[in-house]
């Protein structure tokens, strides 16, 4: 049964390779000016050069740090706040509507406010990334807590479990799939906001470096940076699915 899947995968890679070949052909024939579109060979050479003799590695780590710190802060704060709001009916009816109102706000609109409050600093970037990434997790936690099977809460009441025990033993495990889905969505938001903050504040990272490459019309370096950002997006999402599958394994055991 495995055979056909492997063949399809191989064919699919061949098609992707064909597109890269087409890209090379277009740039070789100069159908698009090389100022805008470097061939894959030049982008690859720039990528290799950036890692061996340049500072691409340091930029990559800079972006990953912004993303990771903001996302981590948002995860902790989002799940804690969500647990606080979700586990109390009074809090839910007073606070949840305000959260639903704020939810569709394009989060990047708070960047100017953050700049006014913190200046063009790392702290500003951390605040913006955490503020943007908190929403999916916060709302997933609130909804997940509200959707816990009511009989489980009744059991906890008759066992006279303290509120913290109810949160950790019943509500969190039950809401875990929603929360993890929220965390995955937040990763993408965190990456995008890291890039925007780096562009605006000139912080060390890929966002700033691709902008400088564009300003200097160094298109090979620009494409190398964009490809690297795509790789970050892909790998973090793969890592998150892997973690999700591991954490939720107990649900499929029966």
């Amino acid at each position: 049964m495995m055979r056909p899947a492997v063949y399809w995968r191989f064919a699919s890679f061949a098609v992707a390779a064909g597109f890269v070949g087409l890209w090379q052909l277009i740039s070789n024939l100069r159908l698009v000016s090389p100022v805008f579109l470097p061939g894959p060979d030049r982008a690859w050479a720039s990528l290799v050069r950036g890692f061996t003799s340049g500072d691409l590695g340091a930029k990559l780590i800079g972006t990953l740090e912004h993303m990771a710190y903001g996302w981590f802060l948002a995860s902790v704060a989002g799940i804690a706040l969500g647990a606080m709001i979700g586990s109390s009916r009074v809090m839910r009816s007073y606070v949840a509507p305000s959260l639903e109102f704020l939810r569709p706000l394009p989060v990047s609109a708070i960047i100017p406010v953050a700049i006014a409050l913190f200046g063009l600093t790392q702290g500003m970037a951390l605040f913006v990334i955490a503020f943007g990434a908190i929403w999916p997790m916060l709302l997933a936690t609130v909804h997940g807590f509200a959707a816990v099977e009511p009989r489980l809460y009744e059991v906890s009441r008759s066992l006279q479990m303290p509120r913290l025990a109810v949160i950790f033993k019943i509500a969190l495990p039950s809401a875990a799939p929603d929360i993890l889905a929220g965390m995955r969505l937040s990763l993408t938001v965190a990456l995008i906001l890291s890039v925007v903050c780096e562009i605006l504040a000139g912080l060390d990272g890929l966002g700033h470096s691709v902008l400088l490459s564009a300003r200097a019309f160094r298109s090979a370096d620009l494409f190398a940076g964009v490809i690297l950002l795509g790789v970050i997006g892909y790998l973090t999402s793969v890592a998150m699915s892997f973690a999700e599958a591991r954490i939720l394994r107990y649900r499929h055991r029966d």
Binding site: A16, S108, A109, P112, L211, G230, S237
Partner: protein, 254 residues
Amino acid sequence: MIPERIKALVLPLAALLALEIWARGVHLQSDSLAPPSAIALALGAAFGDGAILSATRDTLASAFTGLLLGGAIGLGFGIALGVFQTLDRLMEVTIEAIRPVPSIALLPIALIALGFGYRMEIVIVAFACVWPVLILSRAAVREVEPRLIEVSRALRLSPADRVYKIIIPAALPRIFVAFRLAAGIALIVAVTVEIAINPIGLGAAIMAAQQGLQPDLMLALLLWIGVIGYGLNAGLNLAQRRLFGRAALVRDPA
């Protein structure tokens, strides 16, 4: 008992009142905060001279043009990939390689290729809108009731007729959901591009207010952007319920 609607308003009103009293109490002179009364006045003034309306028009025009362009591309590919399984399997690696590139990373490329203005913003918005529409419409087409496909075969409909007469009507509710989600993304991406670099629209206006040290105008614009985001979301949700009722009740994919 206090009605739920009133409970929902308690928190925002209390926060506004507290901010107003605090700002008056300390005779606030700040580059980053302003009392709510000043924010309301600034919003009124911005409406009065029409600046906010033309900025809103610029932002919404770019967002919706990008949405239509990206949505059309996404829908076309989504239907094609949903109907022809072979094509889907062949394109898999290519799509999975391009999709994780964060839309905002394309900003420098669009900047050198198209310069400032509507065009670069529309291209970035379109790129961001392609993926949700493609993924969701592909899934919608695949999950069309198999008996309908059998009927189309029995009637010997041509492939084009099968798509127009059977598949699109059957998948329409879920395609609308895809466009609803993409509309939210379009607004977010448009504002983000304007804040990061593009000197048009609401994003540029809010950045200018911050740099001009007008916190009242800046917060008024933030509020207005929030209202637009909320209104767009609420309007599309209402349209979905009116047009499709229960047919569109599918879980929003995170």
